[in-house]
Symmetry: C2
Subunit: 189 residues, 2 copies
């Protein structure tokens, strides 16, 4: 058994969905394509996931978890650094790649089209906003919780804009200026 490739098949199936979703959108995610991409037989997908909605739900939950890590601070660092670090991470090289952003976009589209998925998505978004507001509160303890949330809201607008605009292929310099703008909002007096 090749340990690098032969991870457990259930996890490989989820990877395959992520890959297909990112590249071809939800209409490219069908049971046969998933099985092929994961290198397993068709029946196995339905063995682990009763039906297609269950499969998609599993993927959404997995993504929600990894999102929370974006605003989970390094406990060793200074609060200022924690916040600055988080603001830069969302425009970092792992995030600002076409596959990841494309995946995000398709997830949003999916949430827009399906009520159940919208709920999962909205929860993850709220948690992210909350995490960001907390980081701001730690870095600037003189601010009220309300003021922190307000800044988090403003920052998320610009961050979402960066993500979306990256996909549309804007100049990288505009992204750098936008990161600076988020820091400006976060640390304003």
């Amino acid at each position: 058994m090749n340990p690098g490739e032969q991870v457990d098949r259930q996890s490989r199936i989820l990877d395959a969905v992520l890959e297909l979703l990112s590249r071809h959108g939800i209409s490219g995610v069908n049971m046969r394509a998933v099985a092929r991409e994961a290198g397993v037989a068709l029946g196995l997908v339905n063995y682990y996931y009763a039906d297609k909605p269950s499969l998609i739900r599993a993927v959404l939950n997995r993504i929600g978890e990894s999102d929370m890590r974006l605003v989970t601070p390094d406990p060793e660092a200074h609060p200022d650094e924690q916040l600055r670090e988080a603001l830069r991470r969302v425009a970092g090289p792992e995030i600002l790649t076409t596959p990841y952003l494309s995946l995000r976009l398709h997830l949003w589209a999916l949430a827009q089209a399906d009520e159940d998925f919208a709920v999962i998505n909205a929860e993850a978004f709220d948690q992210y906003l909350d995490g960001l507001a907390t980081l701001i509160g730690n870095a600037k303890p003189e601010l009220s919780r309300e003021a922190c949330k307000e800044r988090a809201d403003d920052i998320v607008v610009v961050q979402n804009g960066m993500w979306l605009t990256s996909l549309l292929g804007i100049d990288k310099a505009a992204i750098r200026r936008s990161i600076a703008r988020t820091e400006q909002i976060a640390f304003a007096d």
Copy 2:
């Protein structure tokens, strides 16, 4: 014949696609659903549009045209007002509605999944950026064309963020603050 309802059927078919795309995404757009939504027979869709890609292309082109109207200024107004007006229009009540934004989102997702549609989308985006840079140049003639384009880039990041974040259901006040931010970028000294 009821003049309000009975517009020509070819146009009704495109309307139906827009409606379905906005509500259910591309996987909700199939020939039968389009025919039903438009109130015509299945065969008529293929009569006007040879196949599904042609149908989608026609829709994309129609949307591109209406997008350009967003940055087409009222020639009577003062350049300052033209720019301010354009910046407010993109967050106006006709635009910032769920159906319209949802449509936008699905269009972006579609462009991400399909190379041909991506080209149409990128062209429309470039034209929009160009139009915005021109408005800025008219309002602030002391700026170089490069500087105008830079500001247009920055503004579009925030605008895209507003659109996306509106869909995710953020507080309206954050949107208002973001519009102010775009004006600040545009009119900065």
